[in-house]
């Protein structure tokens, strides 16, 4: 006698289901505690909203609002791209090139490496052009992104609070600079649950370029913090095991591996008959999922079946660890139902020689960004895929040699797809690109707006920890309605 743990149908066998079905016959303390501390108790806390119809597989159930987007792809330009050479057109700064930066801007302001230095204006190093029907100003270093100008909504009035890379990423991903809080992707999977049983719901990819310092990125950036560990982001790697430990040990065939997994499952079932512990059922289901990942992950990574025109669109040959290849993988992940996909490109820290370096880094990402948007559009997936392109901060209008320092008081990002009103530029910095002055968008506002598109009221996606209800948006956040279609 042997139970098959490899399901023949693709019916939902997600662990939560596994132990929910168990609970009809008996509830074990551990599972019940886990359940209560998660979905159910949180739902009870939240209360159900009458009228909302659609169901999700997470704690936001039903949706607080009608969702426009089902998934998120974040393109994180790590290092802090200069807004002044990318999306924020500042002719006045060009005129001021070489002149002292007026002290009214900089006095008493936080500053990074330029602490104590003489502050001179540094004009934009690349010309801007109007792109598309919408005529949005975009730097000429982004010719391909320019082609999809009418799809993207540029925000030029973003602000953050952390001026160094590490805390700035933490702030962008978790809404606070204190370690130990869940990342956006974890919150989203906690809120909405997974759409796939074969892959993790939160996947992280990274690439490195040749023009900026490759600043470190801590795994804290995709940690689930105080949320249950299964909401943690999983790294998809271009070298070695694509997902850690996903490959069989050497000398063990797939069938032998299956024998081991099935035998363990059978023994676990026998044990469960003796002790009746729902955690065992969960364990069996997790082995099932792990075994499925041993097929689904290689299948995901194998792009050999992609037609040549698609590979050409991205400008990649396959899973080679470049940003373009990761964009292609992002599309494949999106197709497979992964909820939250985050791509890091670590090449934007341009303290020196910004003219050459920003152009170089831009070229590394331009085609991939364009291809991802175009490809999703061709597949009619852009409408429910929300894309965000951003850095952890911008760069100073002041020169640091022939580069720029970190800058937090005003910088740019863009959004696209799932419910975003493309072809517009929102907000503005002052004439010199220092302070966001018009329609300021804080990171918490950005998060609130994105959650809204996903059908979530950011003030109601909460988790109680250390006696307090925590949110992705901390204690702030306003939805910027004008960004929504």
């Amino acid at each position: 006698m042997s139970y098959s743990v490899i399901p023949t149908s693709t019916s939902t066998s997600f662990p939560r289901r596994a132990f929910l079905s168990r609970t009809a016959s008996g509830i074990g303390a551990t599972a019940l505690a886990a359940m209560l501390s998660e979905a159910m108790s949180q739902r009870l806390l939240l209360g159900a909203d009458a009228g909302a119809a659609a169901q999700s597989r997470g704690v936001v159930n039903p949706f607080h609002l009608a969702p426009k987007a089902k998934r998120v792809i974040i393109l994180t330009m790590a290092g802090g791209p200069s807004h002044l050479e990318t999306f924020d057109y500042k002719p006045k700064l060009a005129e001021m090139n070489g002149k002292p930066m007026p002290e009214s801007f900089t006095k008493g302001q936080p500053i990074a490496q330029l602490q104590g230095a003489k502050l001179n204006c540094f004009g934009p190093q690349h010309p801007f052009k109007k792109f598309g029907q919408s005529g949005q100003h975009i730097s000429e270093i982004f010719p391909k992104i320019g082609e999809v100008a009418d799809d993207i909504c540029i925000v030029n009035s973003l602000r953050t609070t952390a001026i160094n890379h590490d805390p700035a990423h933490t702030y962008f991903n978790t809404g606070t600079t204190i370690s130990g809080r869940p990342a956006f992707g974890s919150w989203l999977n906690y809120g909405l649950g997974a759409e796939t049983d074969n892959l993790p719901g939160f996947v992280v990819l990274s690439s490195t370029g040749k023009f900026g310092q490759a600043q470190p990125i801590a795994s804290r950036q995709w940690h689930s913090g105080f949320l249950p560990s299964r909401y943690q982001g999983v790294e998809l790697r271009s070298k070695g095991d694509p997902v850690l430990y996903v490959n069989h040990p050497p000398g063990v065939s797939r069938d032998q591996q299956k024998d081991v997994v099935e035998s363990a499952a059978t023994l676990n079932r026998l044990e469960n008959e003796a002790v009746d512990d729902p955690e065992i059922a969960t364990r069996i289901a997790q082995y099932e999922l792990a075994f499925k990942m041993q097929t689904s992950v290689p299948d995901l990574m194998d792009v050999s079946a992609e037609p040549q025109n698609v590979l050409d669109l991205y400008g990649t040959k396959g899973s080679d660890g470049t940003f373009a290849a990761n964009c292609l993988l992002a599309r494949r992940l999106a197709e497979r139902g992964v909820r939250f996909i985050q791509l890091y490109h670590r090449d934007w820290d341009h303290h020196g020689s910004i003219k050459e370096h920003v152009a170089g880094t831009a070229k590394e990402v331009d085609q991939g960004c364009h291809a991802l948007i175009t490809d999703l559009k061709n597949r009619d997936m852009l409408k429910d895929t929300l894309i965000l392109w951003h850095g952890e901060f911008g760069r100073t209008p002041m020169a640091q040699g022939n580069g720029r320092d970190h800058h937090i008081k005003g910088f740019s990002c863009w959004l696209c797809g799932g419910g975003i009103n493309g072809g517009q530029t929102w907000g503005a910095t002052d004439d010199l690109g220092y302070n966001a002055v018009e329609k300021i968008v804080e990171i918490n506002d950005l998060h609130a707006t994105m959650l809204q598109l996903l059908g979530i009221d950011h003030e109601r996606l909460i988790y109680r920890y250390q006696g307090r209800d925590f949110r992705l948006t901390d204690v702030a956040g306003k939805v910027v309605k004008e960004l929504l279609a």
């Binding site: 209560l36 001026i163 801590a218 065939s253 081991v260 363990a264 020196g352």
Partner: protein, 1021 residues
């Protein structure tokens, strides 16, 4: 449906605490306050800034004055009308608050409480724990001690029975995992089963508590709490040596150090009178926080971050207080204020630290090393006194030497001649001024990068070289060599020359020599034509003058009116690394070098001067110089040098760690909204949270002390009157042995925390713990000796229905082992486990490239070899930003923040680790070897052996039916495919004996993998 109603009931229990019968007294702090705090306090609570309608519900007088309720009359109470209203204008909480409405159960509780008089009582955890009288129980035979009386009474009240005692095998496994973190061996079970005396169980407990593995097991828990890690945390997340702290923790638990002393040593060990090495190591607690080395980080910001980190974590660790909220505002639910937060921070303001940069490590020599150093020091003192004592013999010798030196100087004019610059210009905007000693100092603006151009004028001929002296100044960073951090990076040094009326021509420098260069910043960098390399001298670490000499490739002909132009560049990425003060000298010596005459410039001056005209300082300087070179003292000097070198070598070899070093405390002020840029807040001095001082007296400064110290703080923390410290610790230990705390909120004993299910038990244990002298082993023994602990974890249908959450502790808990123990268990079963205790952290297997996102510098994990591959999980190198993924998968925390309650998740990543991580494949392989060697002749015997090793029990018939065919199948497969068997057996660095059949071993490895992947194997029940 049944599930949902069940959940509703449970929700009531959890959020309000159990109220079984209506006639029972409703307690404000236990039942009512959690409801009000969750749903009303945001607008009607302690936070003045957020308060609406000008009233608060947390103070009875105010609530009464505002007529929120009428004691004894719920019906006519405003609060009841409001929370039950259907009118959106009236209803509380209002829709805008997004707070859910009160449930029927909650409203009912408030009604009853008002009808009973609406009395307020103090929050339970802020009252001193007292021993309540032991409750009466019907079954007097069950209890083994006081704990059981507290446990049994509510079980009987609920009409239930405790679960029967678990069998000996389960008890042995449970105790072994709980007290040592390791599995028992089959032999240990046989011994325990054979011992039928009534003391058998107690003997087992005592044996386990006395094993050194006990300290390791407790350390796994405590290191999470104090956030111990081997790396700094932020940004580059570089290494720090702090393993000595980990070993202190292990040893403290093994020695059974009283918990009050354990606490005091960590908070303030360095401040103990005559602090021992051990106490100083313990004080490393204050340095375990995350720190940064990121370029461009602002020191003031990080100083504020570190202060907040210490408050947030220390408050959770010892007080289960969520003070983190008070960084920006008064606590919304608890009586902690923002002033409390910054006053608390002020206790740590004396701890020296680098706001931005690598933290200073302190050498902690071993006892043996300390002894040798003391002997050397004694000898050095004797030698020094000899060398420093002027004698008539020395006087005479000096006079002779002086005369010779004078003569030689007169003949030799090739010494360096300092030249007064004609012009000194800065490109970066600083001002270069020439001082009387002909040195040039930079003042005024202090640019990030600066280039100097200095013009010298000389009449000398045949110039052969130039010397650059960099000089310290009191006003510089660290009183050292630059106006930045004291160090400089000279990225370029160029010389040009022009004879009178001639063109300026570049002068080729043939070489460069310096008296000192920082590693990776050699002097050659100054003349290599690259602006991204340079010469540096560790000026940020040590303030000392330095010199460099640049001989010219061809002598400059020179002559009257000759101009020498020197260009000094500072273009490194390190801001403000510009030489702050320097002097330039020229020479005509044939071979210019650092020490042309063997005499330093100041000595030359004295020697040249008239002996009668010298002042005392000059005389002493000269005498000291002579003693330093006199042949009479040569052997003493030699001995001195030798001993100093030996001492340095010992010191260099000594282990180092982070310890607290006290200095004048930093000024602390309240930061409005936590904003570190805002200096407008009130200045505060060290003080404990004010509301607690009505329960436990505020500490007083020691005699002759102006302020409270960390030691005062540590003593206050462990005062017998402190209502929190003992309760908090007892509750957490209870979790280790029962699966959950008596209060489930291990980290929050405030209003929002959960009321203890057995408050009298918690108080009794806390009081007893303090009275016992904070005896940790005794406390643990009390817990595990109880009948309550010894219950089975199997649960009857009836009990499950009545008490699904185990609020009654009418059964034991079953849960997955902690991450480190999952590893330790597999290694122990395989026989690979190393029993070595302590020492530097180790690196077991980790997938290549896992550290690819780390930088400054980039790193690759190189796993250890030999025994260090098989150490217990608590010794695994703890890289905060990228924790070993095998541990991470089983919920080991990054230790960036205090963790008192690890989650126990059940994820597919765990399956992947146990199936495919080489650690576990190798463990299976090693277990296979043991099975074949020690398991007996035939397959069934061997299977029996493997089963007993892993699960301490025999396989059941139906289990054998699964495993025997699997073994036969894989055996045939590996026989047919020896290459695969070879590959499998090559996993891991341990070798399999050559005389064993490979196909058999591979097939047994499959069996062992099944066993190591079982839920039962990683479960403590």
């Amino acid at each position: 449906m049944r599930l949902f109603s069940c959940l509703l009931i449970l929700a009531g229990l959890i959020f309000a605490g159990p109220v079984s019968a209506a006639e029972k007294k409703i307690s404000f702090s236990r039942h009512i306050k959690p409801i009000l705090a969750g749903k009303c306090y945001t607008c009607h609570g302690p936070d003045e800034a957020e308060r609406k309608g000008e009233f608060r519900l947390d103070v009875r007088e105010v609530a009464l004055e505002k007529k929120v309720f009428k004691p004894g009359n719920a019906k006519e109470s405003e609060i009841i009308l409001r929370v039950t209203s259907t009118d959106p204008e009236m209803k509380m909480p209002p829709a805008t608050s997004k707070k859910p409405a009160l449930t029927e159960h909650e409203i009912d509780l408030i009604r009853k409480w008002i009808d009973q008089g609406a009395e307020y009582d103090q929050h339970w955890s802020y009252l001193k724990p007292l021993r309540a009288p032991l409750p009466q129980v019907k079954d007097a035979t069950w209890s083994a001690g006081e704990i059981d009386r507290f446990i049994l009474a509510p079980i009987e009240d609920a009409g239930q029975r405790p679960s029967p005692e678990a069998d000996k095998r389960t008890l042995l496994r449970r105790l072994s995992f709980d007290l040592t973190g390791l599995p028992p061996t089959p032999q240990e079970l046989a011994d325990f089963e054979a011992d039928n005396s009534p003391q058998a169980y107690e003997r087992l407990v005592d044996r386990l508590l006395s094993q050194p593995q006990y300290g390791e097991r407790m350390a796994i828990y405590w290191l999470d709490v104090v956030r111990y890690a081997d790396s700094a945390g932020y940004h580059s997340d570089n290494h720090r040596d702090v393993a000595a702290f980990r070993d202190y923790v292990i040893s403290a638990f093994n020695q059974n150090k009283p918990f009050d002393l354990f606490t005091q040593e960590q908070l303030a060990g360095d401040l103990f009178p005559n602090a021992t090495t051990e106490q100083r190591i313990a004080s490393g607690y204050n340095k375990l926080l995350q720190t940064t080395e990121e370029g461009g980080a602002q020191p003031k910001e990080y100083t504020a971050k570190y202060a907040a980190d210490r408050v947030r974590n220390t408050a959770v660790i010892w007080l289960a207080g969520t003070m983190g909220c008070c960084e920006c505002h008064n606590h919304k639910f608890d009586p902690y204020t923002q002033k409390d937060f910054y006053s608390f921070a002020a206790f740590f303001a004396d701890v020296t630290e680098k706001a931005v940069g690598r933290q200073d490590q302190t050498k902690i020599p071993t006892a043996e090393q300390e002894k040798r150093i003391a002997a050397i020091d004694a000898e050095l003192a004797t030698l020094k006194s000899r060398i420093e004592t002027q004698t008539p013999e020395l006087d005479a010798a000096q006079a002779k030497w002086e005369a010779a030196a004078k003569e030689s100087l007169a003949k030799n004019d090739s010494a360096w001649t300092p030249i007064k610059p004609e012009k000194a210009e800065s490109q970066g905007g600083s001002k270069l001024e020439t001082k009387d000693d002909l040195s040039v100092i930079s003042t005024g603006e202090n640019p990030a990068q600066d280039n100097y151009t200095v013009t010298l004028s000389t009449d000398k001929e045949k110039l052969t070289g130039i010397r650059l002296e960099t000089l310290t100044d009191e006003s510089f960073g660290n009183k050292s060599l630059s106006r930045g951090n004291g160090n400089f990076v000279l990225t370029g040094f160029e010389v040009q020359a022009a004879s009178l009326g001639g063109d300026v021509k570049p002068v080729k420098l043939s070489a460069a020599e310096a008296d000192f260069s920082q590693p990776t910043f050699p002097i050659a960098n100054a003349i290599d034509d690259k602006t991204n390399t340079g010469w540096a001298v560790s000026g940020h670490e040590k303030a000392a003058n330095h010199a460099a000499v640049f001989p010219f490739a061809e002598p400059i002909s020179g002559g009257p009116g000759t101009k020498i132009v020197v260009k000094m560049q500072h273009q490194s990425t390190f801001a403000q690394h510009n030489i702050g003060r320097f002097r330039l000298s020229l020479t005509t010596a044939a071979k210019p070098s650092l020490s042309e005459t063997g005499l330093p410039a100041d000595i030359i001056e004295i020697v040249k001067s008239d002996a009668a005209g010298r002042n005392d300082a000059q005389k002493q300087k000269l005498a000291a110089y002579y003693r330093g070179i006199s042949p009479e003292l040569a052997s003493a000097r030699e001995q001195l040098t030798k001993l100093e070198a030996e001492k340095k070598a010992i010191n260099d070899a000594a282990p180092q760690t982070l310890v607290s070093m006290a200095a004048a405390p930093r000024t602390m002020r309240i930061l409005p909204r936590g904003n570190w840029l805002d200096d407008s807040g009130q200045e505060v001095t060290a003080a404990v949270p004010e509301f607690l001082t009505s329960v436990v007296a505020a500490p007083k400064p020691a005699e002759n002390q102006q302020r409270l110290t960390r030691l005062d703080f540590a003593r206050w923390m462990t005062s017998r009157d402190n209502p929190l410290t003992a309760r908090v610790f007892v509750n957490r230990l209870w979790k280790l042995t029962f699966g959950r705390g008596i209060s489930r909120s291990l980290e929050d004993f405030g209003t929002q925390g959960q009321f203890p299910t057995h408050p009298e038990l918690l108080d009794w244990l806390a009081a007893d713990f303090m009275e016992s002298g904070w005896d940790v082993k005794r406390l643990l023994k009390l817990m595990v000796m109880s009948k309550a602990y010894r219950q089975s974890s199997l649960v009857s249908k009836e009990l499950l229905e009545k008490d699904p959450m185990n609020d009654l502790f009418a059964r034991q808990d079953r849960f997955r082992l902690d991450a480190e123990m999952v590893r330790d268990n597999a290694l122990a079963l395989s026989g690979l486990l190393s029993k070595k205790i302590g020492g530097p952290s180790v690196k077991p297997y980790q997938p290549a490239g896992y550290w690819q996102y780390l930088n400054f510098p980039t790193r690759e994990w190189m796993n250890d070899h030999g025994d260090d591959l098989y150490r217990r999980g608590l010794y695994t190198y703890w890289q905060r930003t990228f924790l070993n993924p095998s541990l991470l998968a089983f919920d080991a925390p990054s230790r960036e923040e205090c963790t008192v309650n690890r989650p126990r998740s059940n994820t597919p990543q765990q399956a992947l680790v146990l199936l495919n991580d080489p650690t576990y494949v190798e463990a299976a392989k090693a277990l296979a070897v043991r099975t074949v060697k020690d398991g007996g002749g035939d397959t069934s015997k061997r299977l029996e052996f493997a089963f007993r090793e892993v699960l301490t029990r025999s396989p059941r018939e139906n289990e054998l039916k699964v495993l025997l065919p699997l073994y036969e199948k894989h055996l045939q497969q590996y026989k047919a495919d020896p290459a695969s068997a070879d590959k499998l057996l090559a996993v891991g660095e341990s070798k399999t004996p050559a005389d064993l059949d490979k196909a058999e071993l591979a097939a047994w490895t499959s069996i062992a993998r099944v066993l190591l992947n079982l839920h039962e194997t990683i479960t403590r029940n």
